[in-house]
Symmetry: C2
Subunit: 159 residues, 2 copies
């Protein structure tokens, strides 16, 4: 399971990291990585943010839960408040920066699950209705690797 977060500064900018490792060297992503033993999902998200961006966050509500069944992964991304601006690249990052929603480098994002979560989050935040998004990233066959997203729209409960 991969845990990470969407670190927001008070002015609505979002922290992204440019990868110093493969796969997707040189592309931008949210801080995220594999859970370790003995930690909670929230602690894992905060630890990854500290390791990759040297950034301290207060981890909040779960925002997105995406299945990636083609690689047997589940991504959990949390909302997070960046607590100060003393961040910088960790060992696995070339660069760490805050981005206005209008300045997100959409063509240079590392992973479909990150792009989809960011796209949904910025739209939901703009609309003032941020709540858990759930879906599946499906790899579709073709010459290049392509993906589509299926969002889960929970059924109504009985009554």
């Amino acid at each position: 399971m991969v845990v990470g977060c969407i670190p927001e500064w008070v002015d609505n900018r979002i922290l992204l990291c440019r990868r110093a490792i493969e796969p997707r060297y040189g592309l931008w992503t949210l801080p995220a990585g594999f859970m370790e033993n003995g930690e909670t999902v929230q602690q894992g998200a905060a630890r990854e943010t500290l390791e990759e961006a040297q950034a301290r966050v207060a981890v909040g509500a779960l925002y997105s839960m995406f299945n990636l069944p083609h690689i047997d992964q589940v991504y959990l991304l949390f909302r997070a408040r960046l607590l100060d601006l003393d961040f910088g690249p960790g060992d696995e990052s070339l660069e760490v920066a805050l981005f206005d929603p209008a300045g997100i480098p959409w063509d240079a994002l590392a992973f479909p699950v990150i792009a989809e979560s960011l796209r949904l989050f910025l739209a939901d935040r703009e609309n003032g209705s941020v709540s858990l998004r759930s879906g599946t990233i499906v790899r579709t066959p073709g010459e290049r690797m392509r993906y589509r997203t299926e969002l889960h729209e929970p059924m109504e409960a009985w009554s």
Copy 2:
């Protein structure tokens, strides 16, 4: 990661399974188990329900996410609509039954995470405000194994 569900029938009764395996042989639980490769969390919850209770469900929204760091597990329990009453014990169950909220066998539930999720869910459903609950089950030292629950109350977002 363990995935499971809270199967509800139209009359608000909830399906529970009595375990035919260790640990906690003979005690009641919600259908849940370890995710398998190639499936989504929702598919895993439905598969476990079919295997343990021979029951078909429509899996809905994520209801509870609990960390169990003392055993390196994360539990995801979903709301689910039971689609028919043709259920029965699978290989790992002695008995499967529907319970009114007033009839839940609280003293014979198999795991703290199940008891806590059920307790929260029944209260939230009664109050008409069911949304994601997140927390950590902490094992506390002592003569017998005891546990306490810490619920995560997500911080407010900026602004």
